[in-house]
Amino acid sequence: MDRLEQEIKDTSKGMTTIVKTIVRFVMGIIVIFGAYVVLYGHVTPGGGFAGGVILASAYILLTLAFGKEMGLRKMSNRWASLLDNSGALAFVIVGLLGFGGGYFFYNFLGRGEPFHLFSAGSILLSNIAIGVKVTASVFAIFMTLSIFGRIIYKAAEGEEPESEE
């Protein structure tokens, strides 16, 4: 029995076994769909922001089903902050690279064949950068909002609130 199955059977944390099993199945699909929306943002509806929110919702679903330890194990506060900042930085860098062609946000890549993955020049890069940033920051916002809930919950049970980062 591997660790994940133990987690699923363990009813002390998170929701019931049924929910956990279903989350296990749909997680992969959600992540693939999110990645698709990010990567094909320039040829289909969607884009970096929409795809990023879908990716973040996968992490949030995981946290809701399995409890916050699981969520933080998959993406810790530190990683969320790192990805968040590097995504934003990457987006500005895509803009700055345009100065190579003489203008801010100048399209420095070839246009490619229309309606294919590698088309529309630097928009794909921008979408990926935004996708990373939005995934990390929406998840971080979710975890931050839950801090106060955790403190209040502990205070109600008469425990000393642990100091959160």
Binding site: R78, S81, L82, N85, S86, A88, L89, V92, I93, G95, L96, G98, F99, G101, G102, Y103, F104, F105, Y106, N107
Partner: protein, 500 residues
């Protein structure tokens, strides 16, 4: 400089995120990054003063379709105000912010705010303006609540809600404009509105904009957030909010939209002048009774912004002679710059006093000129300037505005201007008496002068107050004239669309 115009937003934006990444390795690095970035921006903005007007097409997209950046006299003037005051606030923050935790986060938010304000000022695209407005506003909501005490969070929440309502009104107005004209490019909008004329929809849009940007500028019926938000923020942020943010997000946007896009109009002129007079009187009267150092300064900001608004309103009047309109605009812009200088000086001084004494309560302070001579002298110069005592800069700008009002035939508003000048003098004399002179309380007998990095910005700003008062002719000829004519010449702005 023309090639690198977008760097005014790109540098602080990149630095804000880079700072958070690097500060995971070393906390100290954020001080250097913040200083370096604001220093570079300040130098760039001063260089911008010597540039002829130009436009910049982002990504080399043709203007009505791509995002357009516009540089003219007004935006150069605002860039200097934002970035120079920003640099001084950063220098002040080194020591002051050591009393707070999470300094890197503070500097990141600070640079995001600078990026937003620079963006608002350089852009020539309506939606772009909204986005940068939100970047600057959201960073400032977080900065107001940076102390995370009960009062700070309450003020921040109030500011967030009211600011959110204002942003919604602005977005609503932009949506109306877009549905009417099918363009977001500001010169293009100006051209299309010239054809459409002053229909009811345009009138509604103007009302939404006056409400939205008026709230950011804290004109009186929309001022409720300011007296809470500005005192609650850390002192350098109060200086940035009162000194720069309300001007870049409120006054600048009102000027740009009303003059260059909507055009002169009798009704708009009357409304803005009335709001200005109301702000002057109510802000001034409310400031008198305040017992909190920073709260008094916050109310005074409302009152002083009234002077700028009334000048803008006068210049917007279609029937006004060109001389009167130019005079009013020069006075208004000069007062805007002056207010940025002396109000940030006073807020930084209040921070220095609070840093050493631990209180902002005017009743607990007193006699500090003996203990903190440099800070005290700077505070005295700042309050004399804002009260309009010659030869300091505040005297000239108020004089020009009041003269323009009398020449335009607005006797009542002119008299109100003079009376509010007296009211300003009253509460700043009170402030000086309570803080600088009078009896030194027993508890403050061991107070020392503030540290060097806090005194330096104060001295620079105080010197600026005096220099701009004495050398006001030079400033008028160089800076204010080009900014005022940029506003008054709507044709020139419309021609930016074809690369003018």
């Amino acid at each position: 400089m023309q090639t690198y115009y977008p760097l005014f937003t790109a540098i602080p934006l990149a630095a804000a995120f880079l700072n958070l990444l690097l500060s995971k390795i070393s906390m100290k690095v954020s001080d250097y990054i913040a200083f370096l970035v604001t220093g570079i921006l300040a130098v760039m903005s001063v260089k911008m003063l010597f540039e002829a007007p130009f436009i910049y097409a982002v990504g080399n997209w043709r203007p009505p379709f791509g995002i357009l950046l516009v540089s003219d006299g007004l935006s150069s003037l605002m860039l200097v105000v934002i970035n120079v005051i920003g640099l001084l606030a950063v220098i002040f923050s080194f020591k002051y912010m050591a009393t707070y935790t999470a300094k890197p986060k503070y500097f990141s938010l600070f640079m995001l705010m600078i990026a937003g304000m620079n963006g608002v000022v350089i852009t020539g695209d309506m939606f772009n303006l909204y986005v940068f407005l939100e970047i600057a506003s959201i960073a400032s909501y977080a900065l107001v609540g940076f102390g995370t005490g009960k009062k700070e969070l309450e003020a921040s929440f109030k500011y967030l809600i009211l600011g959110g309502v204002a942003s919604t009104a602005v977005l609503f107005g932009i949506a109306f404009l877009y549905s009417m004209t099918g363009t977001l490019n500001m010169p293009d909008l100006a051209q299309q509105l010239e054809v459409i004329g002053m229909t009811k929809t345009v009138g509604f849009v103007v009302a939404l904009f006056i409400m939205g940007f008026g709230l950011k500028a804290s004109a009186v019926p929309f001022h409720a957030w300011l007296p809470d938000a500005h005192p609650s923020a850390p002192a350098p942020i109060s200086a940035m909010l009162s000194g720069v943010l309300i001007k870049a997000l409120g006054i600048y946007t009102i000027m740009r939209i009303m003059f260059n896009i909507v055009g002169k109009n009798e009704l708009i002129s009357a409304i803005i002048m009335f709001l200005g007079a109301l702000s002057m009187v109510i802000g001034g009267l409310l400031a008198i009774g305040q017992k909190d150092f920073k709260r008094m300064l916050a109310y005074s900001s409302i009152s002083q912004m009234g002077y700028v608004l009334i000048a803008i309103g006068l210049a917007l009047k279609p029937g006004a002679e060109l001389v009167v309109a130019t005079l009013a605009l020069i006075g208004g812009l000069f007062h805007l710059v002056n207010h940025a200088v002396f109000k940030s000086l006073l807020f930084l001084a209040s921070g220095a006093v609070e840093y050493r004494t631990g209180t902002r309560d005017l009743e607990k302070l007193g006699g500090l000129i003996k203990k903190m001579p440099v800070t005290g002298a700077a505070t005295a110069i700042g309050s004399l300037s804002i009260a309009g005592i010659p030869p300091f800069n505040g005297f000239w700008s108020k004089l020009i505005i009041i003269l323009a009002l009398f020449r335009g035939g607005y006797w009542i508003y002119g008299t109100v201007g003079v009376v509010v000048g007296f009211i300003t003098l009253i509460y700043f004399v009170m402030l000086q008496k309570e803080v600088l002179f009078g009896k030194l309380p027993e508890s403050l007998s061991k107070v020392k002068e503030a540290p060097f990095t806090m005194v330096l910005p104060l001295v620079i700003l105080a010197a600026l107050c005096l220099a701009m008062g004495i050398g006001y002719m030079a400033i008028e000829g160089q800076l204010l004239d080009s900014a005022a004519s940029a506003l008054l010449d709507k044709m020139a702005y419309m021609n930016y669309l074809i690369g003018g």
